[in-house]
Subunit: 344 residues, 2 copies
DNA sequence: TTTATTTTCGGAAACGTTTCCGAAATTCAA
DNA sequence: TTGAATTTCGGAAACGTTTCCGAAAATAAA
């Protein structure tokens, strides 16, 4: 596996290394025939330029780092496909890292990417990140020193960087309103961790939809649940035990909605009929589960594309940087789980 | 964003660059006090060694490339977590690339990784790869030239590299036998693309299980379906149209099983009761769908770990290389979809 | 105190490129 | 044919490290 260098090629052809370099970089100051000959024998010798030497010279890696909290659910992989779609065309390569929802791993990942001299980072924060302000401080100082960073989905308002987010408020509002239009009045919200900005936004959308329709609002309607299936199970079980049952539930995301559904079905409740459910953040599961789950779809691919474009723009720009927040639109997929049944 | 180099540190301290380098690499020939002082001022100046310069010298990147055909389903992400679990501890960094099930993209990915001078590659092949022999030839020549490569899940027998696979034959056999024990006789198999080795193995397991129980085998029982939900839908719809209904279906994977179930449910068939279904390759979906799907679980995390360990071993080894095939074990999760109902 | 040994450090080469500068070779105009 | 302009190429520096070699300084032994 001895590597062939530019010198070997030059020696073979009795020319200088600079000429060989010129041949490979298509410079103007080289004769066509010599270039062709060099390229031919280089190929024959199996030569390919050493990327590290180039990098050492150029001082930029043409690599972009992506940090996501997890990629077991399809959400982040789909976003990454969007990112890849844009960056690949622009000649960038992706380094994908996942933090396992742990702030310490996240910080490590960021530092690894820095060490690899990536030209920019696209990141969605961990649950823990807003608690462990260390990471936020670190990101903040990176941004302030001019390092290109784009946040998406799980963002922090403290960091002055480009952000790509979903209009959680609006779609939480619509989802809640959908339940109201179906005739439900006693509606509970299973919320996400309040440290995450999107959780807060969805809570606000929920509240304002109730207010608009003159349904009285109280803290008793909102249950801080979490984002996992087992979170939905736990909270719904608690409601059953307390005999505190709503007519409908608007859940912060699909897994928590699905968890709630599992408990309900196990206890003989009919969905819909006895209780209606709406989820959030479309996943493959929503349309496969029984009954199919009404849910808000996020434009995952587009989120990725937008984040990538913003990053490229920032890398290219020489002017002063004004952080921008792009809010993307979604769709409410109405399915069986939220229907109003005639029997009701 | 001007980078601080080792020279800057040396100049500030009036010492040579080699001394600073020694301080950072913890060499024996440096006085304790000077080292501490250098480290302190270096930190104060915000110096960190340029990785490219190191790489240029060392000629190895401490990076491992991972190429997967997709990561929308949870299978590959889970394997990657296993890989990461081992390699991170060993001080390696992961470059994750996905091929979108396209052979051309796959080849690009491999070349990109080569260009990045990764120390090894862990790869699962694309559908198309066995058709487009170009990629296989390329991988083969890489392996033969001594480049460390480990294949998993979707492997090719032509490539003389370490392989980590699942005992598809055995578990297809068990899954089929399970249906037979439930009393079903007319069992169909929805197979994967026959170009993939695991498809072939599952077909053989299916056939041999039937033979063992003296059920006559014919090509009429096996339908080349594909790996996606829509493939399962298409083939099941065809069976309905042809009025060629089995008592049970053993599907090559969960999505195709789920596709079949969707069509059946839409047409008023009861699962189980009218027809039983077994899937393969456990996914999150299997236990959430209605009815819960009996399926073979693969040890995804362990697959990743094993692949990573084999690769590390190969990288470290100086001796001649003997390709090894590790076959991992699984589990049959029996759920409602394959039950024999009393009414039958 | 002198010599031998060990510790500590500086200088310089090397890794494989690209690029600047200037020189040689070629082409063009007069 | 001569000089100027242009094309084509070689030499060398630079990118930021690590490491080898040898020298200076400090220590130990005589």
């Amino acid at each position: 596996m001895k590597h062939i260098t530019i010198k070997d090629v030059a020696k073979r052809l009795n020319c200088s290394v600079s000429t060989v370099s010129r041949a490979f970089n298509d410079k103007y100051d080289i004769r066509k025939e010599t270039r062709d000959q060099i390229l031919a024998t280089a190929k024959e010798m199996g030569y390919s330029p050493n990327p590290f030497a180039k990098l050492l010279l150029k001082q930029c890696s043409n690599q972009i780092g992506v940090v996501v909290p997890e990629f077991i659910n399809s959400f982040f992989p789909e976003v990454i496909k969007g990112i890849q779609n844009v960056l690949q065309k622009a000649g960038y390569q992706l380094l994908i890292m996942q933090s396992n929802e742990e702030a310490t791993v996240e910080l490590e990942n960021i530092k690894t990417l820095e060490n690899n001299m990536v030209d920019g980072i696209i990141i969605s924060l961990t649950f823990e990140t807003n608690l462990e302000t260390r990471n936020i401080d670190y990101l903040k100082s990176m941004v302030e020193s001019g390092f290109p960073i784009v946040l998406f989905n799980r963002v922090s308002d403290v960091i002055p960087a480009h952000k790509v987010v979903f209009d959680d408020y609006k779609w939480a509002f619509f989802a809640t309103e959908h339940l109201i239009y179906q005739g439900y009045k006693k509606i509970f919200h299973f919320s996400g961790p309040k440290t995450l900005s999107f959780s807060q936004n969805r809570i606000n959308g929920f509240i304002d939809a109730l207010k608009k329709h003159k349904i009285s609002v109280s803290d008793q309607l909102i249950f801080e649940t979490g984002l996992l299936i087992k979170d939905g199970e736990r909270v719904m079980q608690k409601l059953l035990d307390d005999k505190n049952m709503p007519e409908a539930v608007f859940a912060v995301n699909d897994p928590s909605a699905i968890g709630a559904m599992k408990i309900l079905k196990k206890n003989g409740y009919k969905i819909p009929g006895d209780i209606a459910i709406v989820g959030f953040t479309e996943s493959k599961l929503a349309e496969l589960i029984d009954p199919p789950l009404t849910s808000v779809a996020q434009p995952t691919f587009e989120i990725g594309q937008t984040a990538a474009r913003l990053l490229l723009e920032q890398i290219g720009a020489k002017s002063i940087f004004v952080p921008q927040k792009v809010v993307l639109n979604g769709r409410l997929n109405v399915r069986e789980s939220s229907m109003r049944l005639a029997t009701h």
